[in-house]
């Protein structure tokens, strides 16, 4: 680039998560605001590439019966990469199932953190609000650090916080749809009303969705299918990480208010006008 580009290049780059903007859940700091779901990846090698590219510090796993091939290499991979395991209760339809699954996860993986999901039906995979609140309360009582996957309902989100959840994870759209954030207003309301971290979970399709979540005030983003089912998972993982970083920086920077009419950024004074032109009637510069 020419020398004229130097001043722009030397502008300070917005700080990523960490240092002066730590991401903390239940008193523990995570090095990235992007949490990765591991479901849907075609191979462990591909998963490894995406995990590394995402820079994530925590990834979700599901709890299932051991198959004939044994446990597989997922836990060892996360261990090797220094990525925290966040077990989920995916597939549970009642609070009782979620509690048993979480207890199994605690025993198997040695973590009391759990992402609680209680799903109403297989077509929408939407949370069953009533069972969810029961499950969250039971898990908190049992000593779990609970991150609750929930609908984009500000009232329900508040209930989950009151139940003692360490983080609340509203959906942007149903799991696996990639439809983005269908109700940005509700997500913004949830993020502004809760004191625990709000993590946008489900519905992310691409980087701009992750960016928007952070601009709306979310503390983090969880993405699974958006990465694992992308044509190039590692590239999408990196893109989401960049989107999260950009959105976080924008949220902290304080955007300008939206206006109906233009507002000049160049001064009105000192404009060059042709004699006879009606100065002052054509606006005030650009």
């Amino acid at each position: 680039m020419s020398a004229t580009a130097a001043p722009e290049d030397s502008r300070p780059v917005p700080e990523p998560a960490g240092d002066d903007d730590p991401f903390v859940i239940a008193g523990e700091e995570l090095a990235s605001r992007l949490i990765l779901g591991t479901g849907g990846m075609r191979s462990l090698d591909e998963l490894r590439g995406a995990l590394v590219a995402s820079g994530t510090a925590m990834a979700t796993v599901a709890v299932r019966r051991v198959g004939p091939g044994g446990p597989g290499g997922l836990l060892a991979l996360l261990d090797e990469l220094g990525i925290r395991v966040l077990p989920n209760t995916a597939g549970c339809g009642t609070a009782a199932e979620a509690l048993l699954t979480a207890r199994l996860a605690r025993e198997a993986f040695g973590t009391s953190w759990v992402k609680v999901e209680v799903i109403a039906d297989d077509d929408t995979l939407l949370p069953d609000a009533i069972e969810l609140v029961d499950a969250a309360a039971d898990l908190v009582d049992d000593g779990f650090t609970v991150l609750a996957y929930t609908n984009d309902d500000p009232v329900l989100a508040t209930r989950l916080e009151q139940a003692g959840c360490a983080a609340v994870m509203p959906l942007g759209a149903p799991i696996g749809t990639g439809l983005g954030i269908r109700n940005p207003h509700n997500i913004e309301l949830i993020a502004s009303r809760l004191t625990v971290p709000v993590i946008l979970d489900a519905g992310i399709g691409t980087a701009s969705d992750a960016c928007l979540a952070m601009e709306l005030g979310c503390a983090g983003v969880l993405a699974a299918s958006a990465v694992t089912r992308a044509q190039h998972p590692s590239l999408m993982a990196r893109a989401l990480a960049d989107g999260v970083a950009a959105g976080r920086a924008a949220a902290r920077a304080g955007r300008i208010p939206r206006r109906h009419l233009a507002e000049a950024s160049s001064p009105a004074a000192g404009r060059v006008t042709l004699s006879g032109s009606p100065a002052g009637t054509a606006g005030s510069g650009r």
């Binding site: 779901g37 796993v61 599901a62 709890v63 446990p71 077990p87 025993e107 198997a108 699974a224």
Partner: protein
């Protein structure tokens, strides 16, 4: 006995530790529930299984 949803004709009185080891499973990353209750690893050597018991042995799989 029903182990992970399949009939298993193991000897009555077999311990959970023996069941897990007999399947070549590692101790780490695995948890066991008997009749819907988690059996802590510290009790695998002493908890025995009997006809009619339902056992689930679980681990981590890739999931959102």
């Amino acid at each position: 006995m029903l182990v992970n949803g399949e009939q298993w004709d193991g000897p009555a009185g077999v311990t959970i530790a023996e069941l897990v080891a007999g399947r070549g499973l590692p101790v780490r990353g695995v948890a066991v529930a008997r009749n819907g209750e988690v059996v802590p690893r510290s009790r695998w050597e002493v908890v025995t299984l009997h006809p009619g018991d339902t056992v689930d042995i679980v681990t981590a799989v890739a999931g959102g």
